[in-house]
């Protein structure tokens, strides 16, 4: 498979994504409003890092800054040893919104078009690779449908296929399952874990769900405070089953550092 031999030649020692002393904010009439202060973390190649925190804590803002949509007040984001200064296909984004697919393109063309537009493939190659990635996300049957004919979960799977097809250095996922029902969400979480493992993709994943964080992530970066900063980083590498003892343990740790009761974790 194409992505399995991802040709990015960085040793495991150097992180794929490096965020150093990142401060983010926006101008208001009263002056500077700082939303994120001095955040540092890194994500190793082939691993998934979670940005976890309550709504409005600035976790999506950090992801947008990594994507290149927001310029930092201070600090820097480095992806594959290159400093981020604008959006680019090496940091493909899966947004939360279902309407992130081009409604005038079929599912297949939604995945193939970015490959052509970024000059990564000719028309025929793009078609082939798009078919391949639709296969990975088990979307073959929907290839010739238009986005409005798909359910929300299917749309998100197409968006993930489109992002993965670009073979980004880092895949950015901004609460991709936030608007899905719990059953679909769990199914997609397991699917993403499997695909990410298989393709050795590096992922930065934003969520407010502790259970999702414990299940999907290697490292869980917990944000807290206002302006928010990194409260702690929890290692969740031991978790491989949402119902396992390890999952509960990691959930308890995360909840503790978020100042919550562990019992809240279960039903999340």
């Amino acid at each position: 498979m194409h992505a399995a031999e991802a040709p990015i030649d960085h040793s495991r020692a150097t992180p794929m994504l490096d965020v150093v002393g990142l401060s983010l904010g926006y101008k208001t009439p009263a002056g500077m409003s700082v939303a994120v202060r001095d955040v540092s973390f890194s994500v190793r190649r082939g691993e998934t890092a979670i940005l976890l925190g309550p709504s409005g804590c600035g976790k999506s803002t950090i992801l947008k800054s990594v994507a290149g949509f927001i310029k930092p007040l201070q600090g820097a984001v480095t992806v594959a040893n290159r400093k981020v200064d604008k959006p680019g296909p090496d940091r493909a984004v899966v947004f939360q919104e279902f309407d992130q697919l081009f409604p005038w393109r079929t599912v297949l063309d939604n995945v193939a078009y970015p490959l052509r537009a970024t000059g990564k493939a000719t028309r025929a190659e793009a078609q082939d690779r798009a078919n391949l990635w639709l296969g990975v996300m088990r979307l073959e049957a929907a290839a010739h449908k238009f986005p409005h004919q798909l359910s929300g979960g299917m749309k998100q799977r197409v968006a993930i296929a489109r992002a993965l097809a670009l073979e980004p250095a880092v895949l950015l996922m901004d609460e991709p399952f936030g608007a899905l029902d719990p059953q679909t969400r769990l199914r997609l979480q397991l699917e993403v874990i499997e695909v990410v493992k298989r393709t050795a993709a590096t992922v930065l994943f934003v969520t407010h769900s502790i259970a999702e964080a414990a299940l999907v992530g290697h490292d869980i970066i917990i944000l807290d405070g206002s302006p928010s900063s990194v409260a702690s980083i929890v290692d969740a590498r031991s978790v491989c089953d949402p119902a396992s003892q390890e999952a509960l343990e990691v959930g308890r740790q995360v909840a503790q550092s978020m100042g919550q009761e562990a019992s809240h974790v279960i039903g999340d």
Binding site: G68, K86, P87, D99, Q100, F102, W104, P114, F146, H148
Partner: protein, 279 residues
């Protein structure tokens, strides 16, 4: 023209609404014709002023078979087509330039807000002074009728384009030109279609009105001239035949646009199927 989906969710209608649409249309049209015939026969109205439907239909037949009406229609449609093309190209240039430069953006907005509400036949006198009594004057006023509603709608479509899609375009590193052609333009297509339909409607009204005011010009005359000639010679049946032709062509043009919409924005789920009066 309506999209009928029988999924069992909508209860079947009884009575008048239960009849198929073409039949309902046919019945209503027949009632109008019958009332018309009855009026002409029972009152002692002069057929020169108010001809019976039979006369009008034979005038329609004569006009279309002799080529007089067909020729006039062709002349008018050709003018409309040329003007529509010029108007749409201008509108596209305006909106793309407005996207690049904020000075142009302001200027286009000012021009649109001033000229869009203006009935463009009002421009005819100045057009005649500038261009003379010829086809250029007609094209000028019709372009004026088309360009502003189309510009207004495309630029609204650009401005309200889904930000998530624009962000996807930015992630792909699209150039500003590809952002316009591959993201903004298709995203604005529902607005563009509305603009084109409005522009076409304005243009159609304007060209008939302008031709009426113009009277005869040159060897080839359009539908407005046909109407005016028929009035001049008191051929009232031909006046009616002209009006019916104008109405039917308007309906056909509208239907053409709805056909395009069904194959694009309706198919892509960007617009609901056109609701007709029967739904």
């Amino acid at each position: 023209m309506s999209l009928v989906i029988d999924d069992g969710l909508v209860p079947r209608r009884r009575g008048w609404r239960g009849l198929p649409v073409p039949l309902r249309r046919a019945i209503q049209l027949s009632l109008i014709l019958a009332g018309w015939q009855l009026y002409v026969q029972t009152s002692d109205v002069n057929p020169l002023i108010f001809p019976p439907p039979g006369d009008v239909f034979s005038a329609l037949w004569r006009g279309w078979s002799s080529g007089a009406l067909a020729g006039a229609t062709w002349t008018t449609l050709k003018l409309l087509g040329i003007s529509l093309l010029i108007g749409v190209v201008m509108a596209l240039i305006f909106t793309v330039l407005a996207r690049v430069n904020s000075f142009v953006d302001d200027a286009v907005e000012l021009a649109t807000s001033m000229l869009n509400p203006l009935p463009s036949v009002a421009m005819l006198p100045i057009a005649i002074i500038w261009f003379g009594l010829n086809v250029n004057s007609l094209i000028f006023v019709v372009v004026n009728a088309v360009v502003w509603p189309v510009t207004l709608n495309i630029s609204t479509g650009f401005r309200t384009a889904n930000q998530t899609l624009v962000n996807v375009g930015r992630v792909l590193g699209l150039s500003w030109w590809r952002m316009v052609t591959d993201v903004l333009f298709p995203a604005a297509l529902p607005y563009t279609m509305t603009g084109l339909k409005t522009g076409l409607g304005y243009g159609w009204r304007t060209i008939i009105a302008a031709e009426l005011v113009f009277g005869i010009s040159g060897s080839k005359s359009g539908l407005g001239n046909y109407l005016n000639d028929a009035r001049y010679f008191l051929r009232t049946d031909e006046v009616f035949a002209g009006i019916i032709s104008v109405a039917v062509i308007g309906i056909i043009l509208e239907a053409g646009f709805n056909w395009i919409e069904r194959r694009t924005i309706v198919r892509w789920g960007m617009k609901q199927a056109t609701a007709t009066i029967d739904d």
